[in-house]
C-alpha cells in the first residue's frame, strides 16, 4: 500500500474512532450538553423592538396616541393672543339674542350718526 493510501486509511480509521467515541456519549454528558445549549440559546439577545411584556407595547402605543391627540387638539380652536380679545370673546359668547340685537342697533345708530355728520360737513363746505 502506498504512503498516501496508508495515510488515507489511517485518517479514516481515526475519524471512525472519533465518531464512535461521541455516539453515544454518557447520558450525564448528553444532559449537561443539552442544558448548556438551552442556557446559551436563552441568553440570546432579543431585538430591541421585541418587548418582553406585551402590555408594555400596548401602553406605549396608547401613550403615543394620547400625546399626538393633545398636541393636535388645541390647534383646532382659535388661538386668543391677548387678554382683550379673550374678554371680547367671553362677552360675545355670554350675551343672549336680545342683547346682541341691542349691540347691533347701537352699531347702526353709530353708523347713521357718522353718515349724518359727514353730510353736514359736506353741505357746510358747499355753502362756504
Amino acid at each position: 500500500m502506498s504512503t498516501y493510501k496508508h495515510q488515507q486509511a489511517r485518517e479514516q480509521a481515526i475519524r471512525h474512532a472519533l465518531n464512535s467515541s461521541v455516539d453515544p456519549l454518557s447520558p450525564n454528558v448528553e444532559k449537561r450538553l443539552q442544558q448548556a445549549r438551552l442556557a446559551a440559546l436563552d441568553a440570546q439577545p432579543k431585538p430591541w423592538f421585541r418587548f418582553q411584556a406585551p402590555w408594555l407595547g400596548w401602553s406605549l402605543a396608547a401613550s403615543l396616541c394620547l400625546a399626538i391627540y393633545l398636541n393636535i387638539g388645541p390647534q383646532q380652536t382659535p388661538e386668543l393672543t391677548s387678554n382683550s380679545e379673550l374678554d371680547a370673546f367671553i362677552l360675545m359668547t355670554s350675551l343672549d339674542e336680545t342683547e346682541l340685537d341691542i349691540i347691533e342697533d347701537l352699531e347702526f345708530a353709530y353708523w347713521i350718526s357718522q353718515q349724518l355728520n359727514a353730510e353736514d360737513t359736506a353741505s357746510a363746505s358747499h355753502r362756504g
Binding site: R10, Q12, A13, I14, A17, V22, L33, A36, L41, Q44
Partner: protein, 178 residues
C-alpha cells in the same frame, strides 16, 4: 433561533470530544463547550449561519488554549501537586470493542487500533492535536485551520505533518505486532 439550535446540537458532541481530548477532563471540557456556545450565541448569533462553524471552532480553540495556559501556570505554581485533570482521564483499554469492520480499505485497522489512535491523539502536544482534529475530523482546509487557530499556513502544515508522523509510527508499530 431554530437554525442556531440545530447548529449547536450538531456540533456540541464533537466540540466536547475535542475539548475532552485537550483537557483530559470531562468537567472542564463541558465548561469550555458551554462557554463557547454562550459566546457564539450572544456575540455572533446575528451573523450569517455559514460563519457559525469557523467562529465557534475559533472560540473553542481559544478557550482550550486559555485552559492550557492556566493549567501550565497552575502546575508551575503548585509543582508538588498531581494535576486534577488526570483523575478522570479515560482509559482507552477499557473502551468497548466493536466486532464489525468499518472500511474495506482499512480492514487491517481494528477497533482496538482506533482506540490506540485516540490515545495517541490525546497525548499529542496541544497545537498538533487541535490542528489534526480540525483538519482530519472537522474537515477544515489549511487556510481555515490557520484562521481558526490564529497561526500561519506553514505552521498548520508543520503541526499536521508532525501529528501525522506520530500516528504513522504508531500504526507501523501496531501492524508489526499483528
Amino acid at each position: 433561533m431554530r437554525n442556531m439550535e440545530r447548529f449547536l446540537k450538531d456540533i456540541e458532541k464533537r466540540a466536547f470530544r475535542m475539548a475532552q481530548l485537550a483537557t483530559k477532563s470531562e468537567a472542564d471540557a463541558l465548561d469550555i463547550v458551554q462557554e463557547a456556545m454562550l459566546k457564539l450565541v450572544t456575540k455572533y448569533g446575528h451573523t450569517d449561519a455559514q460563519e457559525w462553524k469557523p467562529l465557534f471552532l475559533k472560540i473553542l480553540e481559544n478557550r482550550i488554549l486559555d485552559w492550557h495556559r492556566k493549567e501550565q501556570l497552575k502546575s508551575k505554581l503548585f509543582f508538588w501537586r498531581k494535576p486534577d485533570s488526570q483523575m478522570d482521564k479515560p482509559v482507552p483499554e477499557q473502551a468497548e470493542a466493536e466486532d464489525h469492520q468499518f472500511d474495506p480499505a482499512g480492514q487491517l485497522l481494528s477497533e482496538q487500533m482506533g482506540q490506540q489512535f485516540l490515545a495517541c491523539i490525546e497525548a499529542l502536544p496541544i497545537k498538533q492535536q487541535q490542528c489534526f482534529l480540525l483538519r482530519c475530523w472537522e474537515g477544515l482546509s489549511i487556510s481555515e485551520t490557520a484562521s481558526v487557530m490564529g497561526i500561519n499556513h506553514n505552521s498548520v502544515k508543520s503541526h499536521y505533518f508532525r501529528a501525522n508522523e506520530k500516528l504513522r509510527q504508531l500504526q507501523q508499530t501496531l501492524e508489526d505486532e499483528q
